[in-house]
Symmetry: none
Subunit: 411 residues, 2 copies
């Protein structure tokens, strides 16, 4: 099946928005074993959208549109594509009712133009929007599959994963296992596993650098889940032998999720006290549903005063070693441990920039402290990148340190 | 001048690389006043690249290619496009010398396939690559301008800024102003300004829903910055009269940035105490450089215990009204105000889900508290979406409430 993606929106052509939708869908189509030959971006312009649609119909079996499903006048994807293909739009009363209920629940006024969203190309299957109001549509037309997805990435992703993937699944099963690593660069990792990658066609093995970490994606194709697993598992064993030390997940979990699961398994609670990460550690941890099972408080101690008042860091420590120091990180974690009844307290203090770096304490220097009733220590780490990268990488490292501690006590 | 961008590379179609090159070039072309009608991504495939090239030549005056200029076999942009247009490639001895010197300087071995990079379409002007080895090319062919740029973003950007922009400069400039709103849906907003949007061609006005907020983008075209401002400003005044209440920025700032600037202006400090947002408010605020100028601490009080111990919330309040209540939100903010020396304390407590909602306290219910030495109160709000949407929207609302308070005391 040949496919292409058409993203509709003048904001993309003006350089105001990056087309991450096409990237996301491409990755997912690749996992499904569907070939993608083109991405096209076109503005909110009926004539050009028409031209692009005609061309796509002439060369592809599956066309996925993103954007232009909203309630406003410049949202014209459904309208123009349907017209180009000679399909009528019909008012879908079930969806209209859904939209009405959505507005009622939100206690917001529904306007006339919201009704536009309930018009669906005849014969199309509605793809539910779990997050917003614009429904997606799946259309089977003369052997061509046409999919309309909304532009906002969170709406699009949820709709694609939950309602589109099941409709696109092919006879062959394609399954990917995503191995997550931390602490090694992409080229070094590839060097270590190059003999495993070489000459491998099923499963395929690919590495991706993402947000300071590297993922290894092992993708197998076969007639059954069992067959694919039999292809994938020996490869994963081989990879594990080479780079197992860097792997924290074999199931595409985030590092905070892995740490969370380990805490639950150990029946332990955690608290975070943060300076340079400014709440990011707590925020990422509490983005997990059920975080409350193991997490009960966090402190963002940004100033020296708050480090002393909230976490009982010694004034002498701050004066002798500075707020960015091994000693301060350790005392922060100890302070949180002593004031709360958590089993593990983790701390961060560092220089995220853009300013504040010095020769002895450069930009990117971060100390991470850990305290339990049995021990307490801090480690010195160093991260590259801009302020937000340094904060993100430091948060990753906090979760990784917590995981390391739990693995140690479990052994 | 009508332009389009063609990005060549299979990694883009597999979802391994995001096409930030097209976004960057689009933004720059918009600044130059050049209309961009299409982005296309095509893989490292000669036939499809040929088709895409023929189509582009038929509809555009300026075609910018990125990618496929490297030394390896799958780098075929220059070769295929030249062949499609009937242009010969010539060995450029000056550039060959450059490449040789580059390798000598790097103390690296130059391989045979590097010579491929010194072949330039006849009549083309070389665009120097200050960072890598692949030269770019600027071609003027039968009234069409064709530009070849390398794929790696840092090489491409430098080459575009230093050597391509001077060749593309036109008389017109394009400028966008981005107005940010909160508290109104896209359809209602458009309804309110539809008479301003109607029949408007320069400037153009478009609305975009983004992360639970709506942006209004006003884009003008003219011969000078002054002329464009004269077109844009009256439109912005008109929009302001209609929907000014919902606008928090006229300069594309985030809500936390607007709040931060207002705090600085008022020489006031802020603290956040969070239950349902779990650190997201502090985290977003401290993602801003210089946050430390106005922010000194935050508390993530996830459990009832931590609300009592850290924020002095009354046990009776929690028992009588529950942790998700106006009273608790108010007491949380007051507790933080009293224990720290911040001027404004803001709190969140709510039900972010996915579980925990009840009939009287449904999923999405969030109370936001505010305390200063003069007053304290909490407001009841309600958000839709999944856990992370609710957390994000609640954080937006915290910043919006802080802003509202500061605007009030400034009046």
């Amino acid at each position: 099946m040949k496919s292409e993606i058409i993203s509709v929106g003048s904001e993309l052509l003006l350089g105001n928005t990056i087309n991450t939708n096409a990237t996301f869908i491409s990755m997912k189509l690749a996992e499904l074993g569907i070939d993608i030959f083109y991405h096209t971006v076109v503005g909110d312009n009926a004539n050009r959208l028409k031209d692009v649609t005609k061309l796509a119909i002439s060369r592809s079996d599956l066309i996925i549109y993103t954007g232009g499903l909203g309630p406003t006048k410049d949202d014209l994807t459904k309208e123009v594509v349907s017209e180009t293909l000679g399909i009528e739009l019909e008012l879908n009363n079930i969806y209209l009712k859904n939209i009405k209920e959505y507005f009622k629940k939100k206690n917001a006024k529904m306007t006339e133009n919201n009704i536009k969203q309930a018009y669906i190309p005849k014969g199309g299957k509605i793809l539910n929007n779990d997050i917003g109001t614009a429904p997606g549509v799946f259309l089977n037309r003369k052997g061509k599959k046409i999919v309309f997805l909304p532009g906002p990435p969170n709406e699009m992703k949820t709709m694609f994963n939950n309602y589109t993937v099941p409709l696109l699944k092919q006879e062959n099963i394609i399954k990917s296992k995503v191995i997550k690593t931390m602490g090694i660069g992409e080229s070094s990792l590839e060097e270590l596993i190059k003999d495993i990658i070489a000459n491998q066609s099923n499963p395929t093995i690919a590495t991706y650098a993402k947000q300071g970490q590297v993922e290894i994606r092992v993708t197998g194709k076969g007639r059954s889940e069992k067959e694919v697993n039999q292809l994938i598992n020996p490869i994963i064993d081989k990879i594990n032998k080479k780079v197992g030390n860097y792997i924290y997940s074999y199931n595409d979990e985030s590092i905070e999720e892995v740490f969370f699961q380990l805490l639950k398994k150990n029946n332990m609670t955690v608290g975070f006290c943060e300076s340079c990460t400014g709440g990011l550690v707590s925020s990422r941890f509490t983005a997990l549903a059920d975080a409350s099972q193991v997490f009960e408080r966090g402190i963002v101690a940004y100033s020296n005063n708050s480090k002393m008042e909230e976490l009982n860091v010694n004034k002498d420590t701050l004066e002798a070693h500075g707020p960015v120091s091994e000693e301060t990180a350790r005392e922060m974690a100890l302070g949180l441990l002593n004031k709360s009844n958590v089993d593990i307290a983790l701390s961060t203090t560092g220089i995220a920039g853009p300013t504040g770096g010095t020769k002895t304490k450069p930009l990117g220097l971060v100390y991470i402290g850990l305290a339990t009733k049995n021990e307490n220590y801090a480690i010195k780490t160093f991260f590259t990148g801009d302020r937000n990268s340094i904060q993100r990488k430091a948060a990753n490292k906090v979760f990784a340190e917590g995981r390391k501690y739990l693995l140690k006590i479990n052994n």
